[in-house]
Every structure is written in C-alpha cells, then in structure tokens.
C-alpha cells in the first residue's frame, strides 16, 4: 500500500452543451517523503488534480487514498479534517487574508486546527521565524513583498504540522531570487521528511524534484 494512491480519478465539468474533462482517468501513486513536480501546458488539469489531492474539490469518479483510506468516503467532515491536519496548501497568488497581519493569518489556521488561544501567537511567531520572517509578524499582506507573502503562506500551510505540502505554482508570481528562496524552503521541508507535491511551469524548478509527472488534456503522459 502506497502512501497516496490516485485511482482512476476523473473530474468532468459540464457546461450547457460542452463537457470539459479537466482530469480524465488518472491513476498513479506517491510515496511518503517524495518531492513530486507536476508539469504540463496551461489548462491540462494540474490545478484540478492538486485541488482534489487537497480535498478542496470532489471528483466525478474515482478515489484518492491516503494510507489506504479514501479521502472522499466521509463527505464534508472528512474533507475538513484532511485540510486541517493532513495537507497544507500554497498558491501562486499567496491567498493571504487581506485584513489580517502575517501572524493573524497563521493564527486563524491554528485556530481551525484546534490550537488553544494562548498557544496560537507563540506558535505563529515560531512558524514565521522558521521562514525567516519573525520581524514581519505584525505586517499586513499589502505591506509584504511577493517573496515575503509566499513565505508567510508557507508558514501558514505548516501551521498544523501536515505531512503533505501541496503547492500550485508557488514561484509563479516571484522573481528568480525570491523563487529560489521559496524553493529552498520547500527543499528544507522535504529534507525534514514532508511529502511535497508542486505544480510548476519552470523546468529548472522541476529539476529540484525527485520525480516529475507531465499532464496533457487531463491525462498523465508517461512519467519522465
């Protein structure tokens, strides 16, 4: 039994007359502690697949099993638990809540994860220190550079200590320098034993990964 088993997963969008098979019958496995890169043309279904892995979306058919347990078996409650404790997500456009400071953004994730009020702030500062942003704790997202914002987002994704980090083009909005910083943080996390699944357009980024899979028209091309 592999760590993550993607089993004939399918996500089909139906709009009036056209049906778009965003993810069309994909099956593969991911081992624990792997650093996996997903590449492919725009519209090939990468984000759709990652959202399914993150429990943000539900498939039209098929299963995704984490340690043998079907993610979609328990409905909404199962998905909420999955998002809270098993995975952390990072997005191309950072997705920080604008009205809240860096620390507060992380504290909200901690609150959802069940951390008590008193512990949250200390935990948030520790997480920020981990990505080298301890002094930015009270900055609002608009007061952060793109690189800093993405590091805060990574710290937030790590809030409830998930085993798996899902990153959708985490360096897509960053210059090379900041992209490299983010990438090295992901490498560190990988070294600490986390499973990293990252979508990227940049072949250099994909180099860092242990394995790269390519998608096309919602399907998997042969692993590279």
């Amino acid at each position: 039994m592999a760590f993550i088993e993607i089993d004939h997963i399918r996500k089909i969008y139906r709009k009036a007359t056209v049906t778009v098979p965003a993810v069309n019958d994909i099956s593969f496995v991911i081992e624990k502690g792997e650093f996996l890169a997903i590449v492919g043309k725009s519209g090939s279904g990468k984000s759709t697949l990652l959202n399914l892995l993150g429990g943000l979306d539900t498939p039209t058919s098929g299963e995704i099993r984490f340690e043998g347990e079907n993610l979609f078996a328990e409905g909404k409650d199962g998905l909420v638990r999955h998002r809270r404790h098993r995975v952390g997500m990072v997005f191309q456009s950072f997705q920080l809540i604008p009205g809240q400071t860096a620390a507060e953004n992380i504290e909200l994730a901690l609150a959802f994860g069940g951390v008590s009020r008193t512990e949250r702030h200390t935990r948030a500062l520790e997480l920020l220190a981990q990505v080298g942003l301890a002094e930015r704790a009270n900055h609002y997202p608009t007061e952060l550079s793109g690189g800093e914002a993405q590091r805060v987002a990574i710290a937030r994704a790590l809030a409830n200590d998930p085993d798996i980090l899902l990153a959708d083009e985490p360096t897509g909005n960053l210059d090379t320098q900041n992209g490299d910083i983010v990438l090295s943080i992901l490498q560190d996390l990988h070294r600490q034993g986390r499973t990293i699944i990252m979508i990227t357009h940049d072949p250099d980024m994909a180099q860092v990964a242990q394995r790269t899979i390519r998608m096309q028209d919602g399907q998997l091309l042969e692993a590279l």
């Binding site: 959202n51 993150g54 943000l56 979306d57 909404k76 409650d77 909420v80 998002r83 809270r84 404790h85 997500m89 997005f91 456009s93 997705q95 920080l96 809540i97 604008p98 009205g99 909200l108 994730a109 901690l110 609150a111 959802f112 994860g113 069940g114 951390v115 008590s116 009020r117 937030r156 994704a157 809030a159 409830n160």
Partner: protein, 480 residues
Amino acid sequence: MTVRSFLNLEHPDNMTTLDLIRMALRNLWRTRLRSSLTILGVMIGIGALISMVAFGSGMEKNISDAFTSSGLFSRITITPVKLDMNRPMESLTDTSGISVPLDDELLEKIRLIPGVEEAYGEIQQPAKVAWKENETTLTYTGVSPEVGKTKAYQNLLAGTFLTSDTLGQAVISTDLLRRLKIRIDSEDMERAKKKDTANIYTYLKAEDLIGDTLLLSTATFHPMQMMGALTGNQEANPLSERVSPLVIVGVREGESDGPADRSNTDLLIPEGFATTIPSIGFNSITEFLRKGSGKPDKYATIQVTVANPNNLTPVRQELEKMGLKVFALAEQMKEIRRAFLAVNAVLGVVGFIALIVAGLGIINTLLMSILERTREIGIMKAIGGSEGQIKSVFFGEAAVIGLVGAIGGIILGWLVTLAAGAIINMKIKEMGEVPVDLFYFPWWLIIGSIGFAIGLSLIAGLYPAARAARIDPVEALRWS
C-alpha cells in the same frame, strides 16, 4: 448528536465565542460606514418599536395608576333604578316593585355585607354657584364629613375636608375654580398670566381661598303653583330660588381630564346641611313618582368601598341580589385594558415593520460582505475552516449588529421619548394642565427588545451564513 452539530454550527473549543466576536468586530470595522448604516437601521427599528410600545404602556399606566390611587378600583356605585317604560302605567306608583330607596336604612344594611369597608350616600342636586361676579352651574354633592377619610378624597391642595355635618361648608375642586375664573398656584402661573391677555382670570394661592365665601343658588319646584301658572295666575311661580352662603374649607385637585370636563364632586358640601336646602325635589321621574309613597331616595348615589379588590365581585353580586343598580369601574377597567392591548398591538406592529426593514438591511449588508469576501471564505476553507465555523463568523457579525443596534436603539428610543415628552408637556403646561409621564419603559420591554433584535439579526443572518458556507473554495480561490 448534539444540537450544535445538528445545526452544523460547530465551533470547537479552539474557535471560542471570543474569537468569533473579535473577528466579527474586525470585519465590521473594515467596512465601518456600511456597518454603521446597518446598525443605524436596527437602532431606528428598535427605537421605533420601544417608543411606540412605551407610549402605549405609558397611557395605560397613567390611567390605571390614576384609578388605583383614587380608590376607584375598589369602589362600587349604587344609583337609583331607572324607570322601566315597558311596565304598565298603574304599576309605576306601586313603588314596592321598583326598587329599594337609597336611604340611611339601606346604608346600614350595606355596611353589614362581608367585605364592605365603607358605604356612604351622596346627595346630588343641580345648582348655580357664584364667586364674586363669576358664576357657573353644576351638580353639587352632599357627603358626610366621615367620607374625608376615604382614599377618594385624599387629594387636598389646601385646607381640610368638611369638618361639620350641618354648617354651610364647601370643599371645591380646581376644575370648579377654573370655571369660576380662578387659577391657583399649583399651575404654571407666570406662563398662564402671560397668555391671559384679556385678564379673565384671578390668580390666587389655594390657601387664600380658605375661609372665602361661595354663594349656592338652588331652585325649588312647587307642583301646586304649577297648576296656578298654567291657569293664568300671574302671581303663581312654580319655581323659587334660594341662596345659601358656603364657607370654603378645602381645595382639592380636580378629577376631570380637560378644561371643559366637570364632575359631580367639584363641589362637596356636608350631607346634613344639604338636606336643609330645599331642592328641586327630585332627580328622576322614579323619584318623583316615589315621592307620594313616602319612601323617597335620600341619596342620589351610594358609594361602597371594599377593603380588598378581590371582594369587589362578591359584594357587587350581593348588592344586585338586593335589587340595587350597581356600577363598578374596576369591571369596566377590564374592557379598558383590552382596548389598550389592541392599541399596544397596533403600535407594536408599526415598530415591528420598522424592524423588518432593519432585518432586510442586515441581510443586504451580510450578502454584500459575502460577495466581497468570497475569496477570503475560500481561503478559510482551504486552511481548514468548516462550514459551521464559516457560518459562525457571519452569525457573529449579525449578532454584533443586532446587539449594538438594540442597545443603541433603546438609547435612541429613550432620547426620542424624552424629547417628545418634554415638548408635549410644554404644550400641556401652556394649556394650564398638569404635566404627565407619557412614556413608560417596563423592564420586559428593554429585555424583550434586546432579545428580539438579536433574534432578528440571527434570522437575517441565516440565509447569508448558509450561502457563505456553501461557497466553493476552488471557485473562490480562482478569481484574484
């Protein structure tokens, strides 16, 4: 399965109520102009509701307080039985069947009924009364000086109640004084004087009137002279006038509600003295018919008071069994209460409509907020927020709007009623009347409106919260 999980309003220990309120306050602060307008809407709704209901309650309280303090609630009035026109003519002179005459013998009997505190008779006659060159007509009442002890006559402004049964004494009301063009110092004198440009009134202190003299003119009817007058005898006058001087011993607050109203108790004179005044002879045809039978009504009315209001109904039933015609205001009061309930309901509905509008405002504000925060809701879901927690965030906002709106609304309503009360009372004083508390805020109104506002806000929050919880995170995160 707990109620909370059933409602899907889950917020485990980690997301405390305090967190929710803090988040709600923060979100409301972010859009403070819109939030404050929404809260203002709730304030106006609650303010309208409570000032309306306070007005209704105030009117009811004023009336029932006036009745309670005057002792009218524990009083039964006995009046002579009206003539039954359906009875054959010959039986009219057969007084035995008509009724028991209202006299001292009856008074004694009534006093023996269990539950009766007191019973006293009142002699009433129409008359003219004059003070200096001013005069007016009225119906005076002759009462025993003992009556001064009862609750109904505790409202003296100056002097004493009647002290003798036989002397020509008078206790007069402010209503009668006004009709005699006298104003006394209990009113807003300076203002009244200024308005009285024609100098109609005499302004006095109530004490100054004590010892002064009123002239009471009564008419007597002579049936024999009537025949003479009809047959053309110029000398025969069926009516003769007699003037009796009365010394004012006391001035009391009038019982009427407006300047034009009058009451039979505006002029009280001793009962013994009243019996010496030759009267027109009868108050009613019944009495006229009864005159011949030798059993006239001595009293125009008999007032019976009960010690405990609960005794009112049994005593009344006992009196009715004796063949007496009775009237108890307390029983009328049930009707009045019912009428006020209707008035309050109508006023409440007006306020309620204002609150419904406020509720729609809350729904609108929350929906706007959800539209603007779609992405934020998507983020909350992506980092582990459950539908219940997201609902709670919006319920928290609705509740804060409701609570702040309710407290603000109560203050607003209270200020409005203060201002309205002050303006109305200014007019009342200008009219020379006594100011009143027009509005009354019972505790249930305050508690009720806070609860109601929060309840309303939560109901208004139901749909927006459910909508927020249903937002698809994938969709929400896509647009940036």
